[in-house]
């Protein structure tokens, strides 16, 4: 959902959290004493979920909480870069990377008590890769067939070796659903059934939905059949209940936390982090993320109104980048919590290639503009979602910085659908945006940012044949070193061509009462409550 963060297509993986390695070194949430069982945790969210079907949803508000209801065959590790056993306990690549054998965990039950079968797994995988089913099918497009070798063995035959297939099997859209229950849902099409089923979803995750008042609150209760064990050797989750309260206003959400009416809350504005760190009853957690914030530039030779587009000139785009002092932006917009981008993908993305991107240099920016034929600058505009403080702060700062090289920036605040409409029609000069990965692989972000045939490189119109070819080759490259070399080249070309203005990476700022512990948010964004608990 782009309300807060610009880009919509972000999301996350499925479940997570290994039992033993929960308090990962260097990550915020810490469980020191023995966790307390029972009780309820109240968590404030900025927006409600919309559609709790893993396959047909399209928004982070769904994806980031869905992993509490469903499991996937593999699970992302808490650092977000690897995979670990999930509903499958073992996996083996055969036939030169074209066959994948997965051994299913035994004794797994759905929240209604029915056992999970190989049939459910095959049906779920076939459903999520059906090209008619929503936006996520690309992630599993390499699967040619799914078959049941035995009641505990699933075999995937791939069209070609796929370096991201394991990550894909740890991504939310491959979650296992109970086939019988889904098919028994009212409706004739898959979509109608999904709608009915998602009202009362049943999965193998740690919680199940108990009540949901749209836009107000959502209550999850403990799944008594959950398969994962806690530190005490008994079944997770620790909590009996998680209640999500929907409070869109940042100030109100934080006041509720301070007053003790919430145990925790997400999306703490950067401007409030320092203040909350100083509160004695509150613990600020900054979880490493895959989030990058940037400005998308329209690179088409002409704008939609037919006028020449200065941004089509690579030197102009470089000049705009050189004129930006990322450190100053980070200080103002994120209150010092961010770090400068070092590639178009976040440093937490596998195969990220670190570069120093456009160190602020106003003289160089001016020289480049002059070479490009704009010695006196030009006028341009940037769209943003109305009322978004981060976007507003960023653009207000850019307005000043670009004024120094003669570029006059007009800020256009639009409501979300208006902005999306113009973005999709490629009728814009610039827009603010941010991105988080849904899968622990560089392929997803690259297909949106750099690979033209997908969506025209963020609808910028920028195309580089070399990048397109490298990307296609990398999709079938299972040799990690060779794939890394391909990605290095893609990232270098992208940086030099600058179809975006590189800004910053930021962590996920989450705040909790001191006695609310054990929450985990992985870099892909997933909120994990299975090991959360409220101390006395």
């Amino acid at each position: 959902m782009s309300k807060v963060n610009g880009l919509t297509r972000r999301a996350s993986l499925a479940l997570a959290a290994s039992f033993s390695a929960l308090p990962v070194m260097g990550l915020p949430g810490t469980a020191q004493a023995a966790p307390v069982r029972g009780g309820k945790m109240v968590y404030g969210r900025y927006a409600d979920s919309l559609f709790l079907d893993p396959v047909l949803n399209d928004a982070n508000v769904d994806i980031w909480v869905m992993t509490n209801l469903y499991d996937t065959l593999l699970l992302p590790t808490n650092d977000g870069v690897g995979v670990q056993p999930g509903l499958a306990t073992k996996w083996e690549m055969k036939n030169g990377g074209k066959t994948l054998e997965l051994t299913l965990r035994e004794g797994v039950k759905f929240a209604d008590g029915a056992p999970m079968t190989a049939d459910d797994v095959k049906w779920s995988l076939d459903r999520c890769r059906n090209p008619k089913n929503g936006p996520w099918t690309d992630l599993v497009a390499s699967i040619d067939s799914v078959s049941i070798a035995s009641p505990t063995m699933i075999v995937l035959v791939l069209k070609h070796p796929d370096p991201s297939i394991l990550a894909a099997l740890a991504t939310f859209n491959t979650a296992v659903l109970p086939k019988k229950l889904f098919e028994a849902a009212p409706g004739t099409t898959d979509e109608e059934k999904a709608k009915a089923y998602a009202e009362k979803p049943v999965g193998t995750g740690p919680f199940m939905l108990s009540s949901w008042q749209r836009g107000v609150s959502m209550k999850l209760v403990r799944n008594p059949h959950y398969w994962k064990k806690g530190e005490d050797g008994k079944a997770l989750p620790y909590l009996d209940e998680v209640e999500f309260q929907i409070i869109p206003d940042d100030s109100t959400r934080l006041l509720k936390l301070k007053a003790g009416e919430l145990h925790g809350t997400e999306f703490v504005p950067y401007s409030r982090v320092k203040e909350l760190k100083a509160e004695k009853d509150i613990r600020m957690e900054l979880w490493p993320s895959t989030k990058v914030s940037y400005i998308t530039l329209n690179c088409h030779p002409k704008l939609k109104d037919g006028t020449d587009n200065p941004l089509s000139n690579v030197k102009v785009r470089q000049a705009l980048n050189y004129a930006v002092n990322k450190d100053a932006i980070i200080a103002i917009v994120t209150q010092g919590l961010g770090v400068p981008m070092t590639s178009f993908m976040s440093s937490t993305t596998p195969l990220h290639h670190k570069q120093t991107l456009y160190k602020a240099d106003v003289a160089k920016a001016k020289a480049l503009l002059k070479e490009a034929g704009f010695p006196n600058g030009f006028e341009t505009s940037c769209m943003m979602v109305a009322g978004n403080q981060d976007g507003l702060n960023t653009l207000t700062t850019l307005q000043q910085m670009w004024a120094a090289i003669g570029v006059k920036l007009k800020i256009e605040q639009l409501d979300n659908p208006s902005l999306t409409k113009r973005y999709r029609a490629e009728d814009f000069s610039m827009r603010t945006a941010s991105w988080t990965n849904d899968i622990s692989d560089p392929g997803e972000i690259t297909t949106y940012f750099a690979y033209f045939p997908n969506i025209g490189s963020l609808h910028s119109g920028w195309q580089n044949k070399k990048v397109d070819a490298l990307y296609l080759a990398s999709n079938e490259e299972v040799d990690v070193k060779k794939r890394a070399a391909q990605y290095k080249e893609i990232q270098e070309i992208y940086a030099a061509e600058a179809p975006i203005v590189f800004l910053y990476e930021t962590p996920y700022p989450v705040a909790f009462r001191k006695n609310a512990l054990g929450f985990v948010q992985i870099p892909l964004g997933n909120n994990l409550f299975e090991t959360a608990y409220v101390a006395k």
Partner: protein
């Protein structure tokens, strides 16, 4: 005599606002758009009497320069509805009949919509910005003026001087605009003065939603909305424009009340 004190205070406040809007550079110690990275969110001090915002911009200067935008909002967001509404009210009040019936239904429609929601919808259609905001307000706000004017015109229509004008053979236009209008316009004008305070408040509500004045232009409401994240840590960011907006509102209301008393308009 005492009745004139509020009027005097009101006029003084408005005059202050007017002067700030006309020559902000006389009062503002800094360029309102100038960043100061050494003084981000600085507390009030001799250098920055009312502190700075997250960009290190001087809040006093920002607030003073914003008077220009707010005054513009007050005038235009009131002026459009005033002109359109008065004209419609004048005509339907005079002619009555089916025009009056159509007006009645239209007015019902407009007043049954929640005002703010309608304005938000219109601004969403036209795109954010001050001009579109004026258009949106005009689409909704004319009804009050039309109703006031219509009521007044219907009273005046029965007055002796109208009959006298007819006898003298004056054209309808002449009677309407030279005689009825001046006599009927007082309550409308008095309402208009208080309406300006409401216009500024509406601007601030839209600023809260990001749909009002677009940066770097700023009006007080947007400044307050900007500062709401610093409400506890740096209250001066929202307090300075907050005080300005209250003073301006006070100015318009006091002036409106005073004027009403002076012109003996029933409210």
């Amino acid at each position: 005599m005492r009745a004139k004190i509020p009027l005097a205070i009101g006029m003084a406040l408005l005059l202050l606002m007017l002067v700030c809007a006309a020559v902000p550079s006389w009062f503002a110690p800094y360029d309102p758009l100038e960043f100061d990275f050494a003084a981000l969110l600085a507390a009030p001090s001799p250098e920055h009497l009312f502190g700075t915002d997250q960009f290190g911009r001087d809040m006093l200067s920002r607030t003073i320069y914003s008077a220009r935008i707010d005054l513009q909002i007050a005038v235009f967001a009131m002026g459009g509805p005033l002109l359109i509404g008065s004209l419609i009210g004048l005509l339907v009040g005079w002619y009555g009949g089916w025009a009056d019936a159509v007006f009645g239904r239209l007015a019902d429609v407009v007043v049954t919509f929640p005002f703010l929601v309608l304005v938000i919808a219109i601004v969403a259609i036209l795109g954010p910005g001050l001009i579109n905001m004026y258009i949106a307000v005009a689409c909704v706000g004319w009804v009050v003026y039309a109703r006031l004017m219509r009521g007044e015109v219907r009273v005046q229509k029965a007055a002796d001087y109208v009959a006298a004008g007819r006898v003298l053979g004056y054209s309808t236009g002449r009677i309407l605009f030279r005689h009825v209008l001046p006599n009927a316009v007082r309550p409308v004008l008095v309402y208009a003065v208080t309406d300006m305070a409401l216009a500024i408040l509406l601007g601030s509500s839209l600023g809260y939603l990001g749909l009002g004045a677009q940066p770097p232009e700023a009006e007080w409401g947007a400044l307050i909305a900007d500062g709401r994240n610093f409400f506890t840590t740096a209250p001066w960011v929202s307090l300075t424009p907050g005080v300005a907006i209250v003073l301006a509102g006070l100015g318009f209301s006091l002036a409106g009340d005073g004027l009403a008393a002076l012109l003996d308009v029933k409210r």
